[in-house]
Amino acid sequence: MPFALEFENISKEYRRFTGARIAALESFSLQVHKGEIFGFLGPNGAGKTTAIHLAMGFMRATSGKGRMLDKPFGHAPTRRRVGFLAENVALYARPAEQLVRFYGGLNGMSGSLLKKRAGEMLEWVGLSQEARRSVGRFSRGMVQRVGLAQALVNDPDLLILDEPTSALDPLARVHVRELLLRMRESGKTVFLSSHLLSEVELVCDRVAILKKGRLVALGKTSELLQSGDKSIIVARGVPATAFPDATLENGVVRFAVPTVSQRSALEQVWSLGGQVISVNPEHRSLEEIFLQLTRTSGERNGSA
């Protein structure tokens, strides 16, 4: 199956003025399937933006190769099918509609189609009333919305977003989330780099976590969230003091046990004359997983 985005054993080193080399990515491999929303996570300096910039052809890999929509990274005509929003997007100071049309024009669009799309996108990002105002006078959030409009003007097959909602208010974030889901419904691919883990958790089909230029986690969001090594047991008719850290509410005791000790905990409930109501794997938030993976030193390389 062809991938929307594919990094194949890519390494990228920056060279300092002194000649010292800094590895931003090391043997990085990743495949993003067509039609999915892919979350790309990692702490500051992990190499996320470097990976995105390599894909966009802004820089060249030190070693390895990659493909975007079945063409090698840096293939200009392919970028006509891609929408990109950079982190801290910088745009020319000119009227918003003119600007969106300028970027659409760079993608080969013209005439009434471009005018229509530019108008629609500005309306979609809630700036149709400001279409004739210069972007130079916009707030950061408004500039980011214009950035989104220019990324979407060409109706891209692949949308690459680097921190798209960092300057947006909660309402606009919901709007972006709806857009991403709508894009997936129409078979488009979204590659989303974000620090807003709750947002990623809500919309992404798969996520990858990067740390110091290496992939430390990759998988379906739902599986990652269930990948805890604990089970939550809910029981009735047992004293809460019988289990460490158990909570009692409305006569129901709730406690977590390591999955390997699950059987003995259940037997303990029964031996005390209690009744087991439910046993479920512990669901962790993406934030917990993220913090655990990026704080520990264990790293693995891989792809899925």
Binding site: F58, M59, A90
Partner: protein, 235 residues
């Protein structure tokens, strides 16, 4: 081609203030032309006219040396290069933008010069001189753009000055054939050496050579720029 045109027009738009500053000198020439006593001073008027030509070349170098750096520093280059625009198209857009700026200036200078110099004896081939000036500007800008792909504006300007200055000094010291190496100075010199008394011929050979060199420099700049990382800090 549409993308190249858009980048070129965008460049002119972004550089509108420096272009306006350049145009002030043309307006000044026109104002001098309105003052009868000054206009009758042929030597002064011609000197001012020639001076504008030097400013044109200086600005062309300034435009060329700073174009890429400014876009990278503001990170606005990312939104442009994220579209279906190749690096060579981007460089072409910048160079055509500089050519438009130079053309606006040179043509205004030609029109004003034709009028203010009409009194003492209209130089019949003023537009040949303007064509020489435009080619000198384009060639100088091409050298500057080439250096700007690898150097910051200050060093790119210095490197351009040395590259254009060495043939100029060699021409003055050892003869005009040295000026053919990079004929920016030789072309500008056509304007600087102009006098009403001396009839000079149009240096078609130099003009063709300058045009070919500008194309070669554009190709070299495109080749180098397509191998450069644009998304890293430029400071």
């Amino acid at each position: 081609m549409r993308a190249v045109g858009l980048i070129a027009i965008n460049f002119v738009r972004e550089q509108r203030w420096p272009i306006l500053v350049l145009m002030i000198w043309v307006v000044l020439l026109a104002i001098l032309g309105l003052v009868g006593s000054v206009r009758n001073d042929v030597g002064f008027m011609l000197f001012t006219f020639k001076q504008l030509g030097v400013y044109g070349v200086a600005f062309a170098i300034f435009f060329g040396a700073s174009a890429i750096h400014n876009e990278r520093k503001t990170r606005r280059i990312l939104a442009v290069l994220s579209k279906g625009v190749s690096r060579s198209q981007y460089i072409s857009g910048l160079l055509i933008g500089i050519m438009i700026a130079v053309a606006i200036f040179s043509i205004s200078m030609g029109v004003t010069g034709t009028w203010v110099l009409a009194g003492p004896g209209k130089p019949a081939h003023i537009w040949d001189l303007i064509a020489c000036l435009m080619l000198a500007c384009v060639l100088s800008a091409s050298v500057a753009v080439l250096f700007s792909t690898i150097l910051n504006p200050l060093f790119a300007t210095l490197a351009t000055a040395i590259t254009l200055g060495v043939p100029a000094v060699a021409t003055l010291q050892f003869g005009s054939h040295w000026g053919r190496a990079i004929p920016a100075y030789s072309l500008l010199d056509q304007l600087l050496q102009f006098s009403f008394e001396r009839r000079s011929t149009t240096p078609l050979g130099l003009m063709v050579l300058a045009f070919i060199e500008a194309i070669l420099l554009w190709l070299a700049a495109s080749w180098i720029f397509s191998r450069r990382d644009v998304a890293v800090s430029v400071d």
